[in-house]
């Protein structure tokens, strides 16, 4: 099939990316502004032998996709802030039990029920630390409709490769925006699948060859027996209270993401090389930011843009390099300084970091970012 060019919505592109990755199971509870993803999965999955279930709530939704993933099916749910809050307990379970799954969080204004139809980007820290305990997680942030396709597909690939839950963090603007998208030829898409053991004989579900490695995952229903528990467990999967087992397991879980950060981190840059004013942003705020940066460049200012496509693990290397030459780094985001905290941590005192927050339920206008940059003293 040739490439197709069409007018596509962000949420529609997330669904298309998931289907291209091999999505076979969706369980969810519809919530604005993510509902189109559920609607489209309900329409498309039965056509390819997949399953769609509307659950009683978001706790049930993530529990159901955990179960489906254990049988070997690629599984996803989509939600927004209130539902994402309910999913946190099971998100920790999936992290500890190393169950691949994808959650799309189309962010809206919070906390609580907030403003259901208004965009925000205030779940950055929740996506990283929403569930209790140290745990690995991967968070990707599309900056346009095409990337909704690409990064949802990539979220599946990374989740399968490292057996870590992957979150696609979009927002109401990106989710509902429609733009021209060129989708790849399906024959060119080579989705990653979790590595499976060769035979049930002697299978140890959590045995690995190195400290940062991902164990082989056997699908339920194909003759393998293994135990899945949210208690700390040894290589057999059965609970263990031994300090050395707990320490080894948690350090390995974290190392899967930390030691493979270079593989996971992704970002886009514009005019970054010679800039002394840098803007770091993501998602829809990055569109307004880019417009402001281009205006500054036209006016002869040395402005540049770093747009993060991977939020967690936080792309430290590129931010650290930037701190070497940009005098001031602006961080526009639709919250009161969540990504900026990470930028400040990495940059230290080598550059000045200026938080540019907006929390009225509207996307930045480019001149607001321009004015923040021009007005900074």
């Amino acid at each position: 099939m040739p490439k197709t060019v069409k007018l596509m919505q962000g949420n529609e592109a997330c669904t298309a990316g998931a289907l291209a990755a091999g999505l076979k199971f969706y369980a969810g509870y519809p919530i604005t502004p993510s509902t189109e993803i559920a609607e489209l999965c309900a329409e498309e999955l039965p056509k390819i032998g997949g399953k769609f279930i509307q659950m009683e709530d978001e706790i049930g939704s993530i529990a159901a996709i955990i179960g489906a993933s254990l049988t070997g099916k690629k599984s996803m749910t989509a939600t927004s802030g209130p539902g994402f809050s309910l999913m946190q307990e099971c998100l920790g379970y999936a992290s500890l039990c190393e169950i691949p799954l994808v959650i799309v969080n189309v962010q809206r204004m919070g906390p609580s029920t907030g403003m259901p139809t208004s965009p925000a980007q205030a779940d950055v820290m929740q996506a990283r630390w929403g569930t209790h305990g140290d745990h690995p997680v991967i968070v990707l942030a599309p900056g346009n409709v095409r990337e909704c396709f690409e990064l949802t597909l990539r979220a599946f690939d990374l989740s399968e490769k490292y057996r870590v839950p992957a979150i696609v963090l979009t927002d109401e603007v990106i989710g509902h925006m429609r733009e021209k998208v060129e989708l790849p030829d399906p024959a060119d898409v080579k989705p990653v699948r979790r590595a499976a053991p060769k035979s049930p004989a002697g299978y140890k579900p959590y045995a690995v060859e190195s400290d940062s490695a991902t164990p082989l995952m056997a699908p339920f229903g194909e003759g393998y027996r293994w135990h899945v528990t949210g208690l700390f467990h040894d290589e057999s999967g059965f609970p263990s209270n031994k300090p050395e087992v707990a320490d080894k397991l948690l350090r390995r879980l974290m190392a899967k993401v930390e030691k493979n950060a270079a593989d996971i981190e992704d970002y886009a840059t514009e005019s970054l090389e010679d800039c002394d004013i840098a803007v770091i942003s993501f998602g829809s705020s990055a569109m307004s930011s880019l417009s402001a940066v281009r205006r500054l460049r036209k006016e002869g200012k040395k402005a540049g843009m770093l747009r993060l496509k991977t939020i967690w693990p936080f792309p430290e290397t590129v931010v650290r390099e930037l701190a070497g030459h940009a005098k001031t780094i602006f961080v526009p985001e639709m919250n009161l300084g969540q990504l900026a905290l990470e930028v400040e941590r990495v940059v230290g005192c080598r550059s000045r970091v200026v938080r540019v927050g907006k929390v009225n339920g509207e996307l930045f206008r480019p001149e607001e970012i321009y004015n923040a940059i021009m007005g900074a003293k």
């Binding site: 069409k6 007018l7 259901p116 925006m177 001149e367």
Partner: protein, 179 residues
């Protein structure tokens, strides 16, 4: 060149669909287009706004900043967005009383009435409005608009919607002749 449209009115009038069709028509002509929306929590009623940005170049910021064309189908929408209108044209439904405090260039056209009486169904006012926007802006050709309408409207309503589109294009042609 960047051309910005803001379509405003009340939820349920189908302005979002009109915006989608306009963006799709632009893409069919090989241009770039981005369509965004904002709306309240109500399923119908409440205020509704769709925006379309069309350009031959890359579009970074997806929303309208200084719309070249503002469509207002209700008095509320006219008063809210008319005040913000700068260089661009306001296209307001004839049923709305004009406010002397709103000074942007304005044309009043019987969009709702044309849908209800000339075309015969008031639900197609959005497509009449689309014809008006397409005709006045000239940013997309009428045959491409027809193709885009046909690809997005429900089956069985094609003829009705084409009639509505043509009625809107005629309203635009009339307004241009007068200007």
């Amino acid at each position: 060149m960047r051309v910005e449209f803001r379509l405003s009115g009340s939820g349920g009038q189908g302005l979002l669909l009109a915006g989608i069709v306009l963006a799709e028509a632009a893409i069919l002509e090989g241009k770039n287009a981005v369509q965004t929306q904002s709306y309240g929590p109500e399923a119908r009623g409440g205020s509704s706004k769709a925006e379309v940005v069309i350009s031959g170049d890359d579009i970074d910021y997806p929303k309208a900043t200084d719309p070249d064309f503002l469509l207002a189908l209700t008095a509320d929408a006219y008063r809210t967005y008319g005040k913000l209108q700068g260089k661009g044209l306001i296209i307001v439904d004839s049923s709305v009383a004009l406010d002397p405090a709103i000074t942007a260039r304005t044309v009043a056209l019987p969009i709702l009435d044309t849908a209800a009486n000339a075309v015969g169904k008031k639900v197609v006012a959005n497509i009449v409005a689309l014809g008006v926007l397409g005709g006045l802006s000239g940013v997309v050709g009428s045959s491409v608009l027809e193709t885009a309408v046909l690809s997005r409207v429900p089956k069985g309503t094609e003829e009705l919607n084409l009639k509505a589109l043509r009625a809107g294009l005629e309203l635009a042609a009339g307004a241009k002749a007068k200007a």
